[in-house]
């Protein structure tokens, strides 16, 4: 017990140090590098909070794809840094005091919790067997809060549409501006050739094991996205034009299948996103499989950014 506690103290100290440094560091690019380490530490924190599903998501997103986006942006905007005018000292101090107050208020909520423990765990577990799933988080995501999950996937598609819309008119439907490594047949090619198959297996495993163990469509899809981006960076596959029909179908495949299953609930069960008795698990697996693929493609394209070259 005490050893675990020491582990947690070290972890929290590290997390706060890195977070503080990210905020106060001079160069944005260095801060983005530190953010990768921050994501790694955060995944460890989620393991210690017994939220393995969240730990997997954080490991995949926080240090991986978000890190890549931030590193890319910080690098491109490097020369603008010197011109940024920092806020004056009085203002900074005032903001610091206010932020400390907000943090203290939140800390008070943590330290003096209400005497009743709010939990939905018994309700979530009560009817989980009917869904055929063994992972309670997957149960919440695909049964009780299926509507939220559907909307979340729609948000991803909308984010992609918005990112694409930010391209200049002449590049609409063109090729995303993902940098390709300068030397073909380098060690990076080797890494992509070896890592990508492993990652694809991991992505499918995440989706498959997600029904009964921690994991799921999102964690699986993120790994697939990272591997796809890696293969494109290494030059093993061309960055596709965003006007490719197949690509666009793949982006909407998952949400549309999920929506279709949801609408079928009106006919076959007792409402939107309700599953007919006995068919819950197969339907959820079908939806998750399609979503894994769509999430992989969508996140990969979000990471690749808006089109910056005309379509080939």
């Amino acid at each position: 017990m005490t050893l675990t506690f020491i582990f947690n103290v070290v972890l929290v100290a590290l997390l706060l140090t890195v977070a503080t440094w990210i905020i106060v560091a001079r160069a944005a690019f260095s801060a983005a590098v530190a953010f990768v380490a921050y994501g790694l530490l955060l995944a460890l924190v989620w393991v210690e909070l017994s939220a393995i599903d969240v730990a997997l998501t954080e490991a995949a997103i926080g240090s991986g794809v978000t890190g890549m986006l931030l590193l890319g942006a910080a690098s491109r905007l490097r020369e603008t840094e010197a011109t940024a005018v920092p806020a004056g000292r009085p203002l900074t101090s005032a903001v610091a005091v206010l932020c400390a107050l907000i943090a203290a208020g939140l800390a008070a909520i943590v330290l003096f919790p209400p005497s009743i423990v709010f939990t939905l765990a018994p309700q979530a577990m009560a009817r989980l067997p009917e869904s055929g799933l063994g992972n309670p988080v997957a149960g919440v995501l695909f049964v009780y809060r299926a509507f939220d999950t559907l909307l979340e996937k729609v948000v991803l598609v909308l984010a992609l549409v918005s990112v694409w819309s930010l391209a200049p008119d002449r590049f609409w439907g063109g090729v995303p501006g993902l940098h390709v490594y300068q030397q073909p047949n380098s060690v990076l090619t080797l890494l992509a050739q070896l890592l990508a198959p492993l990652g694809i297996v991991m992505g499918i495993y995440m989706f498959w094991t997600g029904a009964n163990n921690p994991g799921g469509a999102f964690q699986g899809g993120t790994v697939l996205a990272a591997m796809w981006v890696l293969v494109m960076i290494a030059g093993l596959q061309n960055v596709p034009s965003t006007d490719r029909r197949a690509l666009r179908y793949l982006v909407v495949l998952g949400p549309s299948i999920f929506l279709t299953i949801g609408l079928a609930g009106f006919l076959l069960a007792n409402g939107f996103l309700a599953y007919p008795p006995g068919y819950a698990k197969p339907l959820i697996i079908v939806a998750e499989a399609a979503l894994t693929l769509s999430i992989g493609v969508t996140l990969g394209l979000l990471t690749a950014g808006p089109p910056e070259r005309v379509a080939r």
């Binding site: 506690f5 929290v12 706060l16 977070a19 990210i22 905020i23 944005a28 801060a31 953010f35 955060l42 989620w46 210690e48 909070l49 017994s50 939220a51 599903d53 969240v54 998501t57 997103i61 978000t66 986006l69 931030l70 942006a73 905007l77 020369e79 603008t80 840094e81 010197a82 011109t83 940024a84 005018v85 920092p86 806020a87 900074t92 907000i102 943090a103 208020g105 939140l106 800390a107 330290l111 919790p113 939990t119 939905l120 765990a121 979530a124 577990m125 009560a126 309670p136 988080v137 919440v140 995501l141 979340e152 948000v155 909308l158 984010a159 918005s162 200049p168 999102f218 979000l302 950014g305």
Partner: protein
């Protein structure tokens, strides 16, 4: 008195405070996006603590807040990707990456510099 859950519970507010501070005071938009992500992770951590405290029914944590956090991480990523794309387009159009357009003097200065 102090257990691991409370420790993480105090870490969350600290991250929220730090993130908010960076979001408001740092003039560089990339750093604001970084700070926004730290602020978000602090909030998620609070949810994680609520989930851990709600351990019941043979589970180590309440799955409902955990599922909420997973949705939150996805949406935060989508927002980050969107913000970065906006920022890069702004830079491409104006040659500067500043959200401060009200000060013409400052604006011309930065355009010259880039």
């Amino acid at each position: 008195m102090m257990n691991a859950i409370t420790l993480f519970g105090l870490c969350g507010p600290a991250l929220v405070g730090l993130g908010l501070f960076g979001l408001i005071t740092n003039p560089q938009p990339v750093r604001k996006i970084l700070a926004f992500n730290i602020l978000g992770s602090g909030t998620f951590l609070l949810f994680g603590v609520i989930a851990r405290r709600g351990a019941a029914a043979g589970l180590d944590g309440d799955p409902v807040p955990q599922a909420l956090v997973i949705t939150g991480i996805v949406v935060a990523f989508a927002a980050t990707a969107m913000a970065i794309a906006l920022l890069l387009r702004l830079f491409e159009e104006t040659g500067r990456a500043s959200l401060n357009s009200s000060n013409p003097n400052n604006a011309s200065e930065t355009t010259d510099a880039s």
